[in-house]
Symmetry: C2
Subunit: 254 residues, 2 copies
Amino acid sequence: MPTSHAHILSQILRKLELRGALDDADRGAFLALPLHRRMVEPNVYMVREGDRPDYASVILGGFAFRQKVTEAGARQIVSVHIVGDFIDLEGTLLNIADHSVQALTRCDMAFIPRQAIRDLVLSHPRLGLAMWVDTLIDGSVFREWIANVGRRDGTARIAHIICELGRRLEIAGLARADGFTLPLTQEQLGDATGMTTVHVNRVLKSLAQRGLIRRVRRDLSIPDWEGLRSTAGFSDAYLHFDQVARGVRPDRSL
Amino acid sequence: MPTSHAHILSQILRKLELRGALDDADRGAFLALPLHRRMVEPNVYMVREGDRPDYASVILGGFAFRQKVTEAGARQIVSVHIVGDFIDLEGTLLNIADHSVQALTRCDMAFIPRQAIRDLVLSHPRLGLAMWVDTLIDGSVFREWIANVGRRDGTARIAHIICELGRRLEIAGLARADGFTLPLTQEQLGDATGMTTVHVNRVLKSLAQRGLIRRVRRDLSIPDWEGLRSTAGFSDAYLHFDQVARGVRPDRSL
DNA sequence: CGGAGGATTGAACCTTATCAATCTCAGTGG
DNA sequence: CCACTGAGATTGATAAGGTTCAATCCTCCG
């Protein structure tokens, strides 16, 4: 790992700058943040429900997800995270974690002490604002997921999560021209959409039959983006790319 | 309305103080915030999806809710708000509203200009932190709702929303000793839980038959809190009352 | 070559949606 | 003071979307 801490932080900073104007003092303070880097193996917990987390973290590589487990034992994935996403910023300010965070694939992670972020934000309020924006966008995605799970049928739900992931991966520069590789197994796809594995499988097959996706295991290509978009009822407004990336193309792509 | 602006703001401030330590300068600045007060009739929109809101608001009296409408036309209520809740803090920092906010009952509202909040937060970062906590708790509730709609059956879903509302109303001092009045019609209850009105009605009846609730139209009493709690799989950890109200009783009540 | 995790398939079953009335009650106007 | 009205609540019958259970089949990997 030849990359220095300052280098890692400057990558994160670049994204944060898109969420709010910063000055040199802000940048300097951010780059001076203490952090440690660690590889996290798939399925390993980074935060456990009930924990009192000491660190916030950022994904430098790989995928992670957040989940809740019902008292009855059912699992619900509440978000999926990709490179550049802050994870558990809530751990900075809330006391007890209300959900768990797990690595989906092998993850390259940067951990920043909770107290360091608090101090930073108090001394550099513009950085606080930028992180607050991050939290707000998170919230917007959660709202869309409530609607997705609550008011769309199985087909639309799966189509929707594919659209969301596709669009986010594209913005992050992680998608191929024609599609991308799903970071989730069908079981996890089910846990994210409130469906059973069996039904996920059938829906995927039917989407393929209708020519909306082409798929070999987890490898997706999307020959008919508009078709997929419209069966999903997807619009990327809720991802607030206008505050995430400059000059983003309008809603459509791949 | 004999209450002065400063008086109104001091009520809001009291709640904010629970979310983060403030000093006298913070308090002074907050109390100097410009605001206007207005009554909003039931079903009137306070924010419309697609708007670029200029104001954040706080409920001084009444109930409100937030909703999204699917491209297919289905409605999903994504949160219900009560006295003291900040509404649309996202409007302060995000550009385009990704959802609508509507009055559920007649609402007494305080509107604060978006720019005033931005300025306040930049000059008084501790206030920013406190509001950020508010947003984080919002997010926690959204996550629970995803799990509710995604992984609980109809009975548990309805039981869960009843538990949540009951507990929040209790904390806000708005519940009777034995229960409370549901602020939602059965149709709205369905829109919040991803169910049809018909099924909501049947579930409510069955909850009553099992002795978990007693109900006359919207008037609820809860003779067996533990029974209701356990069929809901409810735990109030996700409401983060430890950061909302001091000395809150542990999870159980009414 | 043997495993193991993941994907796929079939059949039976069940929860929840749909459709279509009907009923209740609080509020309004005469 | 009562009939009228309309929103919301309730009920029944039927259909559909999704689950459950139980195999079977890949395919990557040591």
